[in-house]
């Protein structure tokens, strides 16, 4: 086992996929000679040539639309949107074509494209570089949306994304790129559609994904001091979603906090909270609570820590899980 970073694991996944399958092409802005602004595609052009890994004109709608055309010829495009907010120019191509082509043609055409999106903040990035855009994609039927929180998941989910017959929006938490862990690559972890219990606990379940997973784990550690034994579930696969693992956990613990970095309103966390209370109502001792980014545009670097879900904010929220079985005073009608 060697220590490696998530960035390196993603790079290895791309390289291994390209080595195993000639049809895989990697392209986007600065992914060629530069190896990507985060070096996720480092060395691919040198190793596989500039026909298999190449830079395109600077135009995201073009990149995604070009990938659609390539996929129609049987190729397997893996494209990079350089940063989250720079996927927006491609939104029409993604929502109206990538997501729908299989459906529109009753399966005659498919678009097994991987759209890699480095997303979320916590890295002191300037505006438009730190959006959490996963909900836009998760709300669009026809797309799969996955996001790793660990090094070996980064490798495995990306390999699976490239092999998947459907388009996958692959959300890469930027702040975890240089997190490292022992990992034996090539690793294969749980498949799409499976959530994973990262930490077992008995008192409440923290459900998190992507950049929020380490926050949840840290909060769970800190919660021991307060006498709470928290379970942490890493969603990994937002679409398809693993109801079974999440509901099993919440039924066991009877309490649930959902954590996401994105602004809260109508985000993925809302969906998870809604599902959990639908399915675990009688097991719940308290409402399902949410911790998320504030409902504001992503703030400037010096203020991002106030925006981001912090361990303290998670613990405050856990504290509101009505351990005394008394209603939350905030919501008691005047």
């Amino acid at each position: 086992m060697a220590t490696t970073t998530m960035a390196k694991a993603l790079n290895a996944a791309l390289a291994d996929a390209m080595a195993d399958d000639e049809r895989v092409l990697v392209f986007g802005e600065d992914v060629g000679q530069l190896g990507g602004v985060f070096r996720i595609t480092d060395g691919l052009q040198a190793r596989f040539g500039d026909k298999r890994c190449f830079d395109t004109p600077l135009a995201e709608s073009g990149i995604v639309g070009f990938a659609v055309g390539l996929a129609m010829t049987g190729l397997r495009p893996v494209v990079e949107m350089q940063f989250d907010a720079f996927g927006y120019p491609a939104f029409e191509q993604i929502a109206s074509h990538v997501a729908k082509l299989r459906n529109r043609t009753r399966g005659a055409l498919s678009v097994p494209i991987v759209i890699r999106v480095p997303y979320a903040g916590g890295i002191g990035g300037v505006e438009h570089h730190c959006d959490s855009s996963e909900a836009y994609y998760a709300h669009t039927p026809g797309l799969k949306v996955v996001t790793p929180a660990t090094v070996d998941d980064a490798y495995s989910l990306l390999r699976e994304a490239i092999e998947d017959p459907d388009p996958v929006v692959f959300m890469e938490p930027k702040k975890l790129y240089f997190s490292s862990a022992e990992a034996e690559l090539p690793a294969r972890t749980a498949p799409f559609g499976k959530a994973v219990v990262r930490r077992a606990g008995t008192d409440a379940t923290l459900v998190a994904y992507g950049p929020a997973v380490p926050v949840a784990l840290e909060a769970a550690e800190a919660a021991r001091e307060e006498g709470w034994d928290l379970e942490v579930v890493d969603v990994r696969s937002i679409v398809p979603f693993d109801d079974a693992t999440v509901t099993a956990s919440v039924r066991r613990t009877g309490r649930c906090v959902v954590i996401q970095e994105a602004q809260g309103f109508a985000g993925v966390g809302a969906e998870i909270a809604a599902r959990v209370q639908e399915r675990c109502f009688h097991a719940l001792h308290a409402p399902v609570l949410r911790v998320s980014g504030l409902d504001i545009p992503y703030p400037a670097p010096m203020l991002e820590h106030t925006h981001l879900p912090s361990v303290d904010r998670v613990l405050d929220t856990v504290a509101r899980l009505q351990w005394d079985d008394q209603p939350d005073s905030r919501w008691v009608a005047a």
Binding site: G62, G65, F66, G69, M72, R102, T105, L109, K144, V239
Partner: protein, 397 residues
Amino acid sequence: MTTTPQAVRRASPRSRRPADAPVATAAAPVADPSAGLLPATEPVRLLDPSGTPLPARDDYPEPPVAELRELYRRMVVGRRFDIQATALTKQGKLAVYPSSRGQEACQVGAVLALREGDWVFPTYRESMALTARGIDPVEVLTLLRGDWHCGYDPAAMRTAPQCTPLATQCVHAAGLAYGEAYQGRDTVALAFIGDGATSEGDFHEGLNFAAVFKAPVVFFVQNNKYAISVPLSRQTAAPSLAYKGVGYGVPSEQVDGNDPVAVLAVLTRAVQHARSGRGPFLIEAHTYRMEAHTNADDATRYRDGAEVDAWRDRDPVARLETYLRERGELDDAAVAAIAEQAEAYAADLRERMHDKPAVDPMSLFDHVYAEPTPQLVEQREQVRAELAADSDQEGAR
């Protein structure tokens, strides 16, 4: 008896071209860097509006007469189809129909210039192009009848689903053409686009990707003067839409879109250009949408009858007929035979469109993903239960 026009029989698309599709580099300024890129100032025209041939041109030799006869035949069938489809809207058999009457030369000419293995990227308006391509007319109308989105098999017909989000197909065509070349096939992609849609960002990105990757795409703008109600003067201040090519390093040409001979000649050369590895080509065809945008539109709100009437005199079908008759390539009997074919085609369509098709609601879940997600499986069970309850209720009555 099949009334579907035969697909053109030409060489198969699989071929010998090497897999390296070189990437263009921006040339350093030279004496006249736009040489060969700008269109001629006047649209190419080989027949005058009355059908009289104009002086022959070396650059655009007249297509073989057999092709012109086939062009005529498909235009006649296409027009008959178009009239039939409009009639079907009145009978409530079609939800909506965007007629392409007046654009027969463009729609059929473009398709005839292609090989069977080439790809077409049509918009919602290209119904006649699709019938000319040999797609079953019932399948062409699936979208507009409303039983499913795309009625034909795009892979089998080498024809993308008709594209509604304007201009988005331009980048698909670039990607497909590049992907085919990358895999050593000499496929050409032809992207149809309207005058209005050239204002969209994806037109720009599609042309640019095709040019930079030297992808064999023909971008074929049918400038029918309107985008729904909006006249061309609101879309551009350019001398003509063909002048957009030079900004991408893409050669371009204008053509009289109601001159079927010129359309076929210009398209044929553009397709050759693309197939020979010289990258994309842009064509602007000047034509006119004789009907409203769709049957649901009221064109009298934004254009006057005199304008429409003026274009009646430039009818592409009559023009080609006159020419072929003058050349002795068409006589009353042949015209009548083709008209009969067209009638049979329409009658067959009418008949097959008579009954509402059976559509299975459970199929809604089949093609969202290769395999339905657990969430969709749940929803499918819910719908199945609802349908069962409905039919129980009906049974109980």
